[in-house]
Symmetry: D2
Subunit: 286 residues, 4 copies
């Protein structure tokens, strides 16, 4: 269980833990989310609302993003909010709605677990469990999803180094679960004009060091709806194995993160633009 | 449950949530840790090892720091470590040792809970529950310690804004527990010569906005043993209501953070130096 | 000379100074560097060594990058180095070499001026004057290149906000010179595995606020040779009007920044890859 | 002219250049500013307005701060401003006013030079030349003040590492001028409630590595008038050899940085508080 140091003199100086390391396992890991493969030649698009709000909202959004080419549906039932007075999500009710929509649309579902006590419940309803940025170093939670037999979407902490990010993934693999997708979602810098600074260099760096798939969240990464499409394209050009984006059938009425959610028609347009970029870098989007 | 905006034009622009706000409650909150008052005129010193390792280690350290003037004993039983392969703490065994030492020395004990499922157990043995930096935005944990009737030591996340820090405290107060001590422990910056950058300006800023006591952790804040004393003095001059410091009877053999732990004799010397600074700014250390 | 505030509620909150603002002048500015147009539909590639070292080095590199499709040659004669003991550049001798190579290859030349007293000299030999990151807020230098009638390549400071960057450009335009190209070259964050963190979101943000062309420097932005190509492609996908890259005929013998300089053949390969990405986003590289 | 690496395993990993290194010269350097010694047992207070505005402003302020115990007068004649439309200082006229006030009050004067072409002029009028934060890596300027025979106040760049800061000082010493005072003035972090984050740990770190005196600027370091006194006291407790503070006879009418300037009476009160802290840490203020 030793760690491996990348110490080629002209290269990065990072200690990469053993199980996630590309030096230890040279072939790329493919994570299977109910039949959808993340980490292969196809760039997988995950889309949906920030928070699950209602059957109508979820159904209208899911149907539209599926038609446009999204392969996995996102939506939060448990929402980590900075303020205790913000909308905290529908909880189990939200999980049930997600599960119903999955049945109707056939889209696998990813949603967040925030508490070790929620993991079992979330795993019952969802196809993939998200560990959010604020919980990237919540080690009991990492261990719990590691014991679970569902794929995990691990988001980078907003102040996490690449080394810490890989160590957090190692916690999950160390419990026996190697179905982990890494997600860059913007880091915190001095810049105030955007919600976060999307660090696209994390994509090649993570792929240089690890065999795990890497996706990007341009919605949280920018916080600005108009900026999502261009950064989505840049992420694909930078080698992302997928994108996760907030899409809402009525962004202006969203209970959470409306200002960074794409309208349905914008998302559809974006999909055709991303396809061209994917092709230009030898990838595809079906 | 509304929030209060500090919008004096010549002042900071921060939205302070209601329960922690100094505008809502003008007198300073005194947090009582088994008889020890944090937030009064006395500067309270909390000292002890990073991790609980053994009866001998804990007893030798506790006896010495008590003699020097420490009022509360610190020591981790559950340790959040970046790597899954690092020492993770003694767990419940560690809590029992802490509890025994408390009986023998009379020192109240503060120790960390990392998981909602640990809160009840930790509360059984400890006098104060610590929520660590990495869990500052672990909202289920904040709610759980909020429901608990023990004082809470809330450490600032290493890249948390003042506003986020106060919102996390609000989560605890909102559950009915107003016995919260805020702890500045260094933030993450571009600087690499120290483990963190200790942000002493957080002390006056937090006290400008909130009625909660504020203490400082110069051990994690610097990561360098030789720098702890000078920053401890600066923290007291900046108005800290207390200090929490890592002290070990044999730092070089410590299982965790030895390089930032003070030797027993250095701690004793430091106490007499801090007393002078406390007096110079109108405070005292008994 | 008032400033213009972008205060659309769902948009960024930045005060953009008047002359650089897209609200004041809606059409994109085309900067002409001895016949080469930066800011049009063509993505302009600037390539060359970090520092001018010798006739042979410059000639071999220039000939190769020109064949591959580079339109402008870069090379430093005056080098800003963190240590006074590092190679400081050939000075005027370097400018003469650049000028000779321009004659032989027909490539326009961009090189840095570090001192107000150098501007006139640099303007004599070069087609475009670079103001480096460390001088982004060297206001006397900005005014001096503003009075000069040569196009200016203004690099973003490594800790500069978008607002400060635009204000620095405003200093140049305010002296009567509107031929300014903005260059994102990586910002400083907490991440230590790369030299800097390339902030590609600066491209759409700057283009959202200003009419000036924006190019990207993936060499300084990453500091790692193997990462330059992928980030170059991402920058083009993000809408960059050009790229500036360090290329050296013998990187391992380079007097400066060899570890981030591309070999000639890698650069040639990269050019054909970038062309595909440019085409995919509706741009071209001739 | 080699550099010296501090590589004690339990210590910081920084390469310290030779001339500024404490390993090379073990006794502390005393910088003499027209008879005032910076770096000795006395904590030297430098005070005055941000910018020189008028004879009356300068005289009223200078007289008052001198009475309170300030030993050197500060005031900018050339002002580096983010926007070209902000007040840029009175220029040579301001230098003349400073020189006159020096004659009348006997206070030595420190003022900034921003351009290599201004150094000679500033040196004619001032007792100490300031190199501002934005110019910390303006190497031609550092060399120019290095050739000059006046003491230099070198401010840390707002995102400069300790290593870069010491290298910039080395540029000055390498030209033959060892009369350099280092000044911590706040660094840029993610925190937005203050103008900068004052990094007091820079004081012990710089003194651990170098023999040069270190002072602190709590005015720019916080940007908030009410926070200046408490951070001034903390800086003295942290071992600062001096403080530089903005004081104005009418802060609300100041042309520059009024919101962080102290009123005359507050400064007088602060001086008596600082004296107590200085004494508590074995220093003095006469």
């Amino acid at each position: 269980m030793e760690t491996i140091l990348c110490n080629n003199p002209a290269d990065v100086k990072i200690t990469v833990p053993s199980l996630v390391s590309l030096q230890k396992k040279q072939e790329a890991t493919i994570v299977k989310v109910n039949g959808i493969e993340v980490g292969g030649s196809e760039v997988i698009i995950i889309a949906g609302p920030c928070a699950v709000e209602s059957m109508e909202q979820l159904f209208e959004t899911a149907r539209s993003v599926k038609t446009a080419g999204a392969k996995i549906l996102r939506g939060g039932a448990f929402k980590p909010r900075s303020s205790p007075y913000s909308f905290q999500g529908l909880g189990e009710e939200g999980l049930k709605l997600l599960s119903q929509i999955r049945k109707e649309t056939g889209l696998p579902v990813v949603t967040e677990a925030m508490d070790t006590r929620q993991v079992e419940l979330v795993a019952e309803y969802a196809d993939m469990i998200q560990v959010g940025s604020r919980n990237m170093q919540n080690y009991p939670l990492l261990k719990e999803v590691g014991k679970c037999r569902k794929p995990v979407l691990l988001k980078r902490g907003m102040m996490a180094t690449i080394e810490e990010f890989l160590n957090s993934a190692e916690y999950i693999l160390n419990e026996g679960n190697d179905q982990v997708v890494l997600c860059e979602r913007g880091i915190r810098t001095f810049e105030t004009s955007m919600r976060n600074t999307l660090d696209l260099s994390a994509i090649p760096m993570l792929k240089h060091l690890s065999h795990l798939p890497v996706i990007v969240d341009p919605s949280h990464g920018t916080g600005l709806r108009w900026m999502v499409p261009v950064m989505a394209k840049a992420a694909v050009a930078a080698g992302a194995d997928g994108l996760i984006m907030e899409v809402h059938y009525r962004p202006d009425a969203a209970l959470c993160d409306g200002e960074q959610s794409l309208h349905l028609d914008k998302f559809t347009n974006l999909m055709s633009e991303i396809r061209k970029v994917a092709k230009a870098v030898g990838r595809k989007i079906l």
